[in-house]
Amino acid sequence: MKRILVGIKRVVDYNVRIRVKPDGSGVMLDGVKMSINPFDEIALEEALRIKERGQAEEIVVVTMGPTDCQQQLRTALAMGADRALHIVTTEALEPLTGAKLLHKIVEREQPFLVILGKQSIDGDNSQTGQMLAQLWDRPQATFASKVELTDSSAKVTREVDAGLETLEVDLPAVITVDLRLNEPRYVKLPDIMKAKKKPLESLPVADLGVETKTRIKVLKTEPPAARQKGKMVKDVTELVEALRQKGLV
Protein backbone atom coordinates (compact mmCIF):
# COMPACT_ATOMS: atom_id res chain seq x y z
CA MET A 1 0.00 0.00 0.00
CA LYS A 2 1.37 3.42 -0.94
CA ARG A 3 1.16 5.15 2.39
CA ILE A 4 1.95 8.64 3.63
CA LEU A 5 2.58 9.29 7.30
CA VAL A 6 1.77 12.77 8.61
CA GLY A 7 2.71 14.19 12.01
CA ILE A 8 -0.04 16.04 13.86
CA LYS A 9 0.95 17.97 16.96
CA ARG A 10 -1.52 19.56 19.35
CA VAL A 11 -0.39 23.09 20.21
CA VAL A 12 -1.78 26.32 21.61
CA ASP A 13 -3.71 27.99 18.80
CA TYR A 14 -1.60 30.55 16.97
CA ASN A 15 -4.07 33.34 17.74
CA VAL A 16 -3.79 32.92 21.50
CA ARG A 17 -1.83 35.54 23.36
CA ILE A 18 0.72 33.50 25.29
CA ARG A 19 1.01 34.23 29.00
CA VAL A 20 3.82 32.95 31.16
CA LYS A 21 2.95 31.67 34.62
CA PRO A 22 4.08 34.10 37.33
CA ASP A 23 6.09 31.37 39.08
CA GLY A 24 8.14 30.81 35.93
CA SER A 25 7.11 27.18 35.62
CA GLY A 26 5.77 27.42 32.08
CA VAL A 27 3.03 29.02 30.02
CA MET A 28 -0.64 29.11 31.01
CA LEU A 29 -2.54 26.34 29.27
CA ASP A 30 -5.73 26.14 31.32
CA GLY A 31 -8.78 26.90 29.20
CA VAL A 32 -6.59 27.96 26.29
CA LYS A 33 -7.70 27.10 22.75
CA MET A 34 -5.68 24.23 21.29
CA SER A 35 -5.32 23.38 17.61
CA ILE A 36 -3.34 21.35 15.13
CA ASN A 37 0.09 22.92 14.66
CA PRO A 38 -0.50 25.14 11.58
CA PHE A 39 2.39 23.58 9.68
CA ASP A 40 0.95 20.11 10.31
CA GLU A 41 -2.38 21.12 8.77
CA ILE A 42 -0.42 22.09 5.68
CA ALA A 43 1.45 18.77 5.81
CA LEU A 44 -1.85 16.91 5.93
CA GLU A 45 -3.37 19.00 3.15
CA GLU A 46 -0.40 18.14 0.93
CA ALA A 47 -0.77 14.45 1.69
CA LEU A 48 -4.48 14.59 0.87
CA ARG A 49 -3.78 16.28 -2.45
CA ILE A 50 -1.19 13.65 -3.32
CA LYS A 51 -3.73 10.94 -2.59
CA GLU A 52 -6.42 12.75 -4.58
CA ARG A 53 -4.04 12.81 -7.55
CA GLY A 54 -3.78 9.03 -7.27
CA GLN A 55 -0.17 9.07 -6.09
CA ALA A 56 -0.90 7.58 -2.66
CA GLU A 57 -3.44 5.14 -1.30
CA GLU A 58 -3.57 5.76 2.42
CA ILE A 59 -2.91 8.70 4.74
CA VAL A 60 -2.01 7.82 8.32
CA VAL A 61 -1.79 10.61 10.88
CA VAL A 62 0.21 10.21 14.07
CA THR A 63 0.44 12.22 17.25
CA MET A 64 2.47 11.86 20.42
CA GLY A 65 1.05 13.28 23.64
CA PRO A 66 -1.69 12.98 26.25
CA THR A 67 -5.27 11.82 25.65
CA ASP A 68 -6.47 15.31 24.68
CA CYS A 69 -4.43 15.05 21.47
CA GLN A 70 -7.11 12.74 20.11
CA GLN A 71 -9.21 15.85 19.40
CA GLN A 72 -6.64 16.96 16.87
CA LEU A 73 -6.44 13.45 15.41
CA ARG A 74 -10.21 13.50 14.94
CA THR A 75 -9.93 16.83 13.17
CA ALA A 76 -7.24 15.35 10.94
CA LEU A 77 -9.50 12.38 10.17
CA ALA A 78 -12.29 14.81 9.37
CA MET A 79 -9.99 16.64 6.97
CA GLY A 80 -9.60 13.35 5.14
CA ALA A 81 -6.89 11.19 6.74
CA ASP A 82 -7.76 7.48 6.65
CA ARG A 83 -6.42 6.28 9.95
CA ALA A 84 -4.88 7.70 13.14
CA LEU A 85 -2.23 6.56 15.57
CA HIS A 86 -1.91 8.00 19.04
CA ILE A 87 1.32 7.40 20.92
CA VAL A 88 0.14 8.01 24.46
CA THR A 89 2.45 9.83 26.82
CA THR A 90 1.98 12.51 29.44
CA GLU A 91 5.67 13.38 29.58
CA ALA A 92 7.19 16.19 27.59
CA LEU A 93 9.08 14.75 24.63
CA GLU A 94 12.35 16.15 23.35
CA PRO A 95 12.55 16.34 19.56
CA LEU A 96 15.09 13.50 19.35
CA THR A 97 12.83 11.28 21.44
CA GLY A 98 9.86 12.22 19.27
CA ALA A 99 11.90 11.38 16.18
CA LYS A 100 12.87 8.00 17.62
CA LEU A 101 9.22 7.22 18.36
CA LEU A 102 8.18 8.29 14.87
CA HIS A 103 10.97 6.10 13.49
CA LYS A 104 9.35 3.11 15.21
CA ILE A 105 6.07 3.98 13.54
CA VAL A 106 7.83 4.35 10.21
CA GLU A 107 9.31 0.87 10.58
CA ARG A 108 5.87 -0.49 11.30
CA GLU A 109 3.92 1.40 8.64
CA GLN A 110 6.54 1.51 5.87
CA PRO A 111 5.38 4.80 4.32
CA PHE A 112 6.95 6.00 1.07
CA LEU A 113 6.67 9.55 2.34
CA VAL A 114 6.58 11.20 5.75
CA ILE A 115 5.32 14.76 5.81
CA LEU A 116 5.81 16.86 8.95
CA GLY A 117 5.61 20.54 9.77
CA LYS A 118 8.83 22.53 9.52
CA GLN A 119 8.44 23.50 13.16
CA SER A 120 6.05 23.26 16.04
CA ILE A 121 4.87 26.70 17.08
CA ASP A 122 5.15 25.95 20.79
CA GLY A 123 8.69 24.57 21.08
CA ASP A 124 9.88 26.26 17.86
CA ASN A 125 12.45 23.47 17.53
CA SER A 126 12.46 22.66 13.83
CA GLN A 127 14.24 19.38 14.49
CA THR A 128 11.93 16.38 14.38
CA GLY A 129 11.73 15.81 10.61
CA GLN A 130 15.46 16.12 10.06
CA MET A 131 16.21 13.79 12.98
CA LEU A 132 13.71 11.24 11.75
CA ALA A 133 15.24 11.35 8.26
CA GLN A 134 18.67 10.66 9.73
CA LEU A 135 17.51 7.85 12.03
CA TRP A 136 15.75 6.29 9.04
CA ASP A 137 18.83 6.95 6.91
CA ARG A 138 16.68 8.58 4.24
CA PRO A 139 16.72 11.95 2.45
CA GLN A 140 15.00 15.05 3.71
CA ALA A 141 13.61 18.11 2.02
CA THR A 142 12.87 20.73 4.65
CA PHE A 143 10.87 24.01 4.44
CA ALA A 144 9.03 22.85 1.32
CA SER A 145 6.96 25.31 -0.70
CA LYS A 146 6.37 23.00 -3.68
CA VAL A 147 6.37 19.21 -3.99
CA GLU A 148 6.29 17.22 -7.25
CA LEU A 149 6.27 13.42 -7.04
CA THR A 150 7.26 10.71 -9.46
CA ASP A 151 7.18 6.99 -8.66
CA SER A 152 10.66 6.94 -7.24
CA SER A 153 11.55 10.52 -6.34
CA ALA A 154 10.29 13.89 -5.21
CA LYS A 155 11.32 17.26 -6.56
CA VAL A 156 10.94 19.76 -3.77
CA THR A 157 11.30 23.53 -3.77
CA ARG A 158 12.58 24.78 -0.42
CA GLU A 159 12.35 28.23 1.14
CA VAL A 160 15.92 29.02 2.14
CA ASP A 161 17.60 32.25 3.26
CA ALA A 162 19.05 32.84 -0.20
CA GLY A 163 15.79 32.30 -2.10
CA LEU A 164 14.24 29.10 -3.43
CA GLU A 165 16.30 25.93 -3.64
CA THR A 166 15.18 22.84 -5.53
CA LEU A 167 16.27 19.36 -4.51
CA GLU A 168 15.52 15.97 -5.93
CA VAL A 169 15.28 13.21 -3.34
CA ASP A 170 14.77 9.49 -3.75
CA LEU A 171 11.78 7.94 -2.03
CA PRO A 172 11.12 7.12 0.70
CA ALA A 173 11.88 10.52 2.15
CA VAL A 174 10.89 13.00 4.83
CA ILE A 175 9.46 16.35 3.77
CA THR A 176 8.88 19.21 6.21
CA VAL A 177 6.52 21.91 5.00
CA ASP A 178 6.55 25.68 5.01
CA LEU A 179 3.51 27.94 5.07
CA ARG A 180 3.26 28.69 1.39
CA LEU A 181 2.99 25.08 0.23
CA ASN A 182 -0.81 25.12 0.17
CA GLU A 183 -3.92 26.39 1.87
CA PRO A 184 -5.51 23.71 4.09
CA ARG A 185 -9.16 22.89 3.47
CA TYR A 186 -11.91 23.56 5.97
CA VAL A 187 -13.53 20.67 7.73
CA LYS A 188 -17.22 20.18 6.91
CA LEU A 189 -19.75 19.00 9.45
CA PRO A 190 -20.62 15.68 7.71
CA ASP A 191 -16.90 14.88 7.63
CA ILE A 192 -16.71 15.33 11.39
CA MET A 193 -19.47 12.74 11.76
CA LYS A 194 -17.71 10.37 9.36
CA ALA A 195 -14.40 10.85 11.16
CA LYS A 196 -15.89 9.36 14.33
CA LYS A 197 -16.02 5.99 12.60
CA LYS A 198 -12.48 6.05 11.27
CA PRO A 199 -9.87 3.91 13.05
CA LEU A 200 -7.85 5.53 15.83
CA GLU A 201 -5.31 3.27 17.49
CA SER A 202 -3.63 4.10 20.80
CA LEU A 203 -0.14 2.84 21.56
CA PRO A 204 1.32 3.29 25.04
CA VAL A 205 4.72 4.90 24.66
CA ALA A 206 6.29 2.19 26.80
CA ASP A 207 5.45 -0.43 24.15
CA LEU A 208 7.68 1.21 21.56
CA GLY A 209 10.98 0.53 23.29
CA VAL A 210 12.35 4.05 23.16
CA GLU A 211 14.14 5.68 26.10
CA THR A 212 12.03 8.78 26.85
CA LYS A 213 13.95 10.28 29.76
CA THR A 214 14.56 13.98 29.09
CA ARG A 215 18.07 15.32 28.90
CA ILE A 216 17.09 18.97 28.51
CA LYS A 217 15.76 20.28 31.83
CA VAL A 218 13.70 23.47 31.69
CA LEU A 219 14.77 25.54 34.71
CA LYS A 220 12.49 28.49 34.16
CA THR A 221 10.21 30.21 31.68
CA GLU A 222 9.99 33.98 31.53
CA PRO A 223 8.12 36.53 29.46
CA PRO A 224 10.34 38.37 26.98
CA ALA A 225 11.83 41.69 28.05
CA ALA A 226 9.08 44.23 27.46
CA ARG A 227 9.77 47.05 25.04
CA GLN A 228 9.16 50.47 26.47
CA LYS A 229 6.06 52.07 25.07
CA GLY A 230 7.21 54.55 22.48
CA LYS A 231 5.97 57.87 21.31
CA MET A 232 3.43 58.84 18.67
CA VAL A 233 4.67 61.52 16.33
CA LYS A 234 2.27 63.81 14.50
CA ASP A 235 3.93 64.03 11.10
CA VAL A 236 6.92 63.12 8.99
CA THR A 237 8.85 66.22 10.05
CA GLU A 238 8.64 65.25 13.71
CA LEU A 239 9.62 61.66 12.85
CA VAL A 240 12.67 62.70 10.85
CA GLU A 241 13.72 65.05 13.66
CA ALA A 242 13.38 62.26 16.23
CA LEU A 243 15.42 59.89 14.08
CA ARG A 244 18.02 62.56 13.42
CA GLN A 245 18.46 63.13 17.16
CA LYS A 246 19.14 59.43 17.61
CA GLY A 247 21.64 59.51 14.77
CA LEU A 248 19.55 57.11 12.72
CA VAL A 249 19.23 59.22 9.57
Binding site: V20, G129, P139, Q140, F143, L164, L167, V169, D178, M232
Partner: protein, 317 residues
Amino acid sequence: MSEILIIAEHAGGKLNPATAKCVTAASSIAGAKMTIAVFAADGAAVAAQAAKLAGVAKVITVDNAANQHALAAVIAPQVAALAKSYTHVFGPSTTFGKDLMPRVAALLDAPQLSDVMVIESATRFVRPTYASNAITTVEVDAGTQVVATIRSASFTATPEGSSTAPIESATPSAALPSHTRFVGLAAAKSDRPDLQTAARVISGGRALGSADAFKIIYSLAEQLGAGVGASRAAVDAGYAPNDMQVGQTGKTVAPDLYIACGISGAIQHLTGIKDARTIVAINKDPEAPIFEVADFGLVGDLFTIVPELEKQIAATK
Protein backbone atom coordinates in the same frame (compact mmCIF):
# COMPACT_ATOMS: atom_id res chain seq x y z
CA MET B 1 37.16 21.98 29.32
CA SER B 2 34.70 22.79 26.58
CA GLU B 3 35.76 21.84 23.07
CA ILE B 4 33.42 23.50 20.63
CA LEU B 5 33.03 22.62 16.97
CA ILE B 6 31.42 25.34 14.88
CA ILE B 7 30.10 24.48 11.44
CA ALA B 8 30.84 27.32 9.02
CA GLU B 9 28.16 28.58 6.69
CA HIS B 10 29.44 29.98 3.42
CA ALA B 11 28.48 30.65 -0.18
CA GLY B 12 30.49 31.73 -3.18
CA GLY B 13 33.76 31.53 -1.26
CA LYS B 14 32.54 33.91 1.44
CA LEU B 15 32.07 33.10 5.09
CA ASN B 16 28.53 33.98 6.23
CA PRO B 17 28.59 36.47 9.16
CA ALA B 18 26.34 34.07 11.08
CA THR B 19 29.47 31.98 11.67
CA ALA B 20 31.28 34.80 13.46
CA LYS B 21 28.17 35.12 15.64
CA CYS B 22 28.45 31.45 16.57
CA VAL B 23 32.02 32.18 17.62
CA THR B 24 30.79 34.99 19.89
CA ALA B 25 28.19 32.67 21.39
CA ALA B 26 30.79 29.94 21.95
CA SER B 27 33.20 32.35 23.59
CA SER B 28 30.63 33.00 26.34
CA ILE B 29 31.67 29.58 27.68
CA ALA B 30 34.65 30.10 29.97
CA GLY B 31 37.83 28.56 28.61
CA ALA B 32 36.15 27.30 25.45
CA LYS B 33 38.44 25.97 22.74
CA MET B 34 36.84 26.80 19.43
CA THR B 35 37.34 24.95 16.16
CA ILE B 36 35.62 25.94 12.94
CA ALA B 37 34.91 23.28 10.34
CA VAL B 38 34.44 24.22 6.70
CA PHE B 39 32.70 21.71 4.43
CA ALA B 40 33.12 22.68 0.80
CA ALA B 41 34.29 21.50 -2.59
CA ASP B 42 37.27 23.79 -2.07
CA GLY B 43 37.21 25.51 1.31
CA ALA B 44 40.55 27.30 1.26
CA ALA B 45 39.22 30.84 0.84
CA VAL B 46 36.51 30.38 3.47
CA ALA B 47 38.94 28.74 5.89
CA ALA B 48 41.31 31.70 5.54
CA GLN B 49 38.50 34.05 6.59
CA ALA B 50 37.48 31.81 9.49
CA ALA B 51 41.05 31.51 10.72
CA LYS B 52 41.22 35.27 11.28
CA LEU B 53 38.29 35.40 13.72
CA ALA B 54 39.47 36.33 17.21
CA GLY B 55 39.76 33.44 19.64
CA VAL B 56 39.46 30.62 17.13
CA ALA B 57 41.98 27.86 17.93
CA LYS B 58 41.85 25.89 14.72
CA VAL B 59 40.11 25.63 11.38
CA ILE B 60 39.45 22.28 9.73
CA THR B 61 38.65 22.07 6.04
CA VAL B 62 36.85 19.07 4.63
CA ASP B 63 37.14 19.37 0.89
CA ASN B 64 35.00 17.04 -1.17
CA ALA B 65 33.19 17.57 -4.48
CA ALA B 66 30.09 16.16 -2.73
CA ASN B 67 30.11 19.20 -0.42
CA GLN B 68 29.51 21.65 -3.25
CA HIS B 69 25.88 22.36 -2.33
CA ALA B 70 25.63 21.93 1.45
CA LEU B 71 23.17 19.04 1.40
CA ALA B 72 22.29 18.18 5.00
CA ALA B 73 22.19 14.43 4.38
CA VAL B 74 25.68 14.55 2.86
CA ILE B 75 27.34 16.89 5.34
CA ALA B 76 25.82 15.50 8.55
CA PRO B 77 27.73 12.19 8.58
CA GLN B 78 30.99 14.05 8.00
CA VAL B 79 30.24 16.48 10.84
CA ALA B 80 29.32 13.62 13.13
CA ALA B 81 32.52 11.74 12.31
CA LEU B 82 34.51 14.86 13.15
CA ALA B 83 32.48 15.83 16.22
CA LYS B 84 32.92 12.76 18.42
CA SER B 85 35.49 14.34 20.73
CA TYR B 86 33.81 17.74 21.05
CA THR B 87 31.59 18.76 23.96
CA HIS B 88 29.47 21.13 21.85
CA VAL B 89 28.62 21.36 18.17
CA PHE B 90 27.23 24.71 17.04
CA GLY B 91 25.75 25.90 13.78
CA PRO B 92 23.94 29.10 12.87
CA SER B 93 20.18 29.27 13.22
CA THR B 94 19.79 29.97 9.52
CA THR B 95 18.04 27.68 7.04
CA PHE B 96 21.46 26.04 6.51
CA GLY B 97 21.94 25.30 10.21
CA LYS B 98 18.32 24.38 10.86
CA ASP B 99 18.45 21.86 8.03
CA LEU B 100 21.78 20.31 9.00
CA MET B 101 22.18 20.31 12.78
CA PRO B 102 19.28 18.00 13.75
CA ARG B 103 20.75 15.31 11.49
CA VAL B 104 24.05 15.77 13.28
CA ALA B 105 22.31 15.53 16.65
CA ALA B 106 20.55 12.33 15.59
CA LEU B 107 23.85 10.77 14.53
CA LEU B 108 25.56 11.79 17.77
CA ASP B 109 22.48 10.86 19.83
CA ALA B 110 22.86 14.28 21.44
CA PRO B 111 20.05 16.62 22.46
CA GLN B 112 19.73 19.76 20.33
CA LEU B 113 18.87 23.28 21.47
CA SER B 114 17.50 25.48 18.70
CA ASP B 115 17.90 29.24 18.43
CA VAL B 116 20.10 29.72 21.50
CA MET B 117 20.05 33.41 22.50
CA VAL B 118 22.18 33.39 25.66
CA ILE B 119 24.80 30.93 26.86
CA GLU B 120 25.09 31.09 30.64
CA SER B 121 27.58 28.25 30.99
CA ALA B 122 28.70 25.08 29.26
CA THR B 123 25.51 23.39 30.42
CA ARG B 124 23.01 26.24 30.72
CA PHE B 125 21.34 28.00 27.79
CA VAL B 126 18.50 30.42 27.11
CA ARG B 127 16.23 29.95 24.12
CA PRO B 128 12.90 31.33 22.90
CA THR B 129 9.70 29.31 22.56
CA TYR B 130 6.14 30.22 21.54
CA ALA B 131 7.32 32.73 18.93
CA SER B 132 9.56 34.36 21.56
CA ASN B 133 6.65 34.91 23.94
CA ALA B 134 8.16 32.52 26.47
CA ILE B 135 11.89 32.57 27.05
CA THR B 136 13.21 29.39 28.62
CA THR B 137 16.39 28.68 30.53
CA VAL B 138 17.41 25.08 30.01
CA GLU B 139 20.12 22.88 31.42
CA VAL B 140 21.79 19.62 30.48
CA ASP B 141 23.88 17.42 32.76
CA ALA B 142 27.61 18.04 32.74
CA GLY B 143 29.17 15.67 30.26
CA THR B 144 26.19 15.63 27.90
CA GLN B 145 27.30 16.48 24.38
CA VAL B 146 25.17 19.38 23.13
CA VAL B 147 24.20 20.31 19.59
CA ALA B 148 22.85 23.85 19.19
CA THR B 149 21.86 26.41 16.61
CA ILE B 150 22.77 29.97 17.47
CA ARG B 151 20.26 32.76 17.01
CA SER B 152 22.14 35.29 14.90
CA ALA B 153 20.16 38.33 16.07
CA SER B 154 21.25 37.74 19.67
CA PHE B 155 25.00 37.96 19.15
CA THR B 156 27.36 40.40 17.51
CA ALA B 157 29.90 39.02 15.08
CA THR B 158 33.37 38.24 16.45
CA PRO B 159 35.84 40.58 14.74
CA GLU B 160 39.15 39.57 13.25
CA GLY B 161 41.85 39.01 15.85
CA SER B 162 45.55 39.78 15.83
CA SER B 163 46.62 36.22 15.06
CA THR B 164 45.57 33.61 12.54
CA ALA B 165 44.51 30.13 13.57
CA PRO B 166 46.17 27.11 11.95
CA ILE B 167 44.23 25.48 9.12
CA GLU B 168 44.22 21.69 8.81
CA SER B 169 42.51 19.52 6.28
CA ALA B 170 40.61 16.41 7.30
CA THR B 171 38.93 13.50 5.58
CA PRO B 172 36.37 12.13 8.03
CA SER B 173 35.46 8.59 7.18
CA ALA B 174 31.76 8.57 6.54
CA ALA B 175 29.58 6.94 3.91
CA LEU B 176 27.97 9.70 1.86
CA PRO B 177 24.48 9.06 0.50
CA SER B 178 23.55 9.72 -3.13
CA HIS B 179 19.82 9.88 -2.50
CA THR B 180 19.70 13.68 -2.44
CA ARG B 181 20.55 15.81 -5.47
CA PHE B 182 20.82 19.57 -5.84
CA VAL B 183 18.75 20.83 -8.76
CA GLY B 184 19.03 24.58 -8.54
CA LEU B 185 18.82 27.77 -6.54
CA ALA B 186 16.65 30.68 -7.61
CA ALA B 187 18.25 33.52 -5.69
CA ALA B 188 16.67 36.91 -5.75
CA LYS B 189 19.37 39.23 -7.00
CA SER B 190 19.66 42.56 -5.33
CA ASP B 191 22.35 45.07 -4.50
CA ARG B 192 20.65 45.97 -1.26
CA PRO B 193 22.29 45.16 2.07
CA ASP B 194 21.56 41.72 3.45
CA LEU B 195 18.46 41.76 5.62
CA GLN B 196 20.03 39.91 8.53
CA THR B 197 23.11 42.08 8.84
CA ALA B 198 21.80 45.46 7.64
CA ALA B 199 21.96 48.35 10.09
CA ARG B 200 18.64 49.59 8.78
CA VAL B 201 15.66 47.63 7.49
CA ILE B 202 12.44 48.89 5.88
CA SER B 203 9.57 46.41 5.66
CA GLY B 204 6.30 46.49 3.82
CA GLY B 205 3.09 44.64 4.61
CA ARG B 206 -0.17 43.67 3.01
CA ALA B 207 -1.11 47.34 2.81
CA LEU B 208 1.23 47.81 -0.15
CA GLY B 209 -1.30 45.98 -2.30
CA SER B 210 0.97 45.01 -5.20
CA ALA B 211 4.54 44.15 -6.12
CA ASP B 212 4.65 47.38 -8.06
CA ALA B 213 3.69 49.47 -5.04
CA PHE B 214 6.66 47.98 -3.16
CA LYS B 215 8.80 50.34 -5.26
CA ILE B 216 8.24 53.10 -2.72
CA ILE B 217 9.73 50.83 -0.05
CA TYR B 218 12.77 50.00 -2.22
CA SER B 219 13.22 53.66 -3.00
CA LEU B 220 13.20 54.70 0.67
CA ALA B 221 15.56 51.79 1.41
CA GLU B 222 17.96 53.02 -1.21
CA GLN B 223 17.93 56.49 0.28
CA LEU B 224 18.79 54.99 3.71
CA GLY B 225 21.12 52.24 2.52
CA ALA B 226 18.68 49.83 4.13
CA GLY B 227 17.74 46.20 3.60
CA VAL B 228 14.15 45.44 2.67
CA GLY B 229 11.83 43.04 4.48
CA ALA B 230 8.19 42.05 4.24
CA SER B 231 5.42 40.54 6.30
CA ARG B 232 4.15 37.09 5.53
CA ALA B 233 0.95 38.54 4.11
CA ALA B 234 2.97 40.58 1.61
CA VAL B 235 5.03 37.56 0.60
CA ASP B 236 2.00 35.27 0.34
CA ALA B 237 0.31 37.81 -1.91
CA GLY B 238 3.35 37.87 -4.18
CA TYR B 239 4.33 41.48 -3.46
CA ALA B 240 7.78 40.41 -2.26
CA PRO B 241 9.94 37.27 -2.58
CA ASN B 242 10.00 34.69 0.23
CA ASP B 243 13.55 35.44 1.30
CA MET B 244 12.37 38.87 2.46
CA GLN B 245 9.92 37.51 5.03
CA VAL B 246 10.60 38.66 8.55
CA GLY B 247 9.18 36.80 11.54
CA GLN B 248 8.69 33.49 13.29
CA THR B 249 8.92 31.56 10.07
CA GLY B 250 11.02 34.03 8.15
CA LYS B 251 14.17 35.87 9.09
CA THR B 252 15.09 37.41 12.40
CA VAL B 253 16.58 40.86 12.10
CA ALA B 254 18.43 43.06 14.56
CA PRO B 255 19.03 46.42 12.87
CA ASP B 256 19.57 49.77 14.57
CA LEU B 257 16.48 51.02 12.76
CA TYR B 258 13.43 49.05 11.61
CA ILE B 259 10.63 50.82 9.77
CA ALA B 260 7.39 48.84 9.42
CA CYS B 261 5.10 50.21 6.73
CA GLY B 262 1.54 48.94 6.59
CA ILE B 263 2.24 45.98 8.88
CA SER B 264 -0.28 45.28 11.62
CA GLY B 265 2.17 43.73 14.08
CA ALA B 266 1.03 40.12 14.50
CA ILE B 267 3.06 38.26 17.14
CA GLN B 268 4.59 36.08 14.43
CA HIS B 269 6.00 39.20 12.78
CA LEU B 270 7.11 40.86 16.02
CA THR B 271 9.18 37.80 16.93
CA GLY B 272 11.45 38.61 14.04
CA ILE B 273 12.08 42.24 15.04
CA LYS B 274 12.33 42.11 18.82
CA ASP B 275 16.05 42.79 18.70
CA ALA B 276 15.73 45.89 16.54
CA ARG B 277 17.17 48.87 18.42
CA THR B 278 14.60 51.42 17.23
CA ILE B 279 11.27 50.50 15.66
CA VAL B 280 9.23 52.95 13.61
CA ALA B 281 5.66 52.05 12.66
CA ILE B 282 3.65 53.66 9.90
CA ASN B 283 0.05 52.50 9.85
CA LYS B 284 -3.29 54.11 9.14
CA ASP B 285 -4.97 52.28 12.00
CA PRO B 286 -4.17 53.91 15.36
CA GLU B 287 -5.17 50.65 17.10
CA ALA B 288 -2.69 48.50 15.16
CA PRO B 289 -0.69 46.32 17.60
CA ILE B 290 2.57 47.35 15.95
CA PHE B 291 2.27 50.67 17.82
CA GLU B 292 2.62 48.83 21.13
CA VAL B 293 6.22 47.96 20.31
CA ALA B 294 7.14 50.97 18.18
CA ASP B 295 9.54 53.58 19.53
CA PHE B 296 8.02 56.04 17.11
CA GLY B 297 4.56 55.64 15.66
CA LEU B 298 2.99 57.65 12.88
CA VAL B 299 -0.67 57.20 12.00
CA GLY B 300 -1.52 57.82 8.37
CA ASP B 301 -1.47 56.62 4.80
CA LEU B 302 1.85 55.07 3.93
CA PHE B 303 1.47 56.03 0.28
CA THR B 304 1.88 59.68 1.25
CA ILE B 305 4.11 59.19 4.29
CA VAL B 306 6.79 56.95 2.76
CA PRO B 307 7.63 59.21 -0.22
CA GLU B 308 7.52 62.25 2.07
CA LEU B 309 9.87 60.52 4.50
CA GLU B 310 12.28 59.78 1.67
CA LYS B 311 12.18 63.40 0.55
CA GLN B 312 12.80 64.82 4.02
CA ILE B 313 15.61 62.36 4.76
CA ALA B 314 17.26 63.33 1.49
CA ALA B 315 16.96 66.96 2.57
CA THR B 316 18.77 66.33 5.87
CA LYS B 317 21.83 65.06 4.04
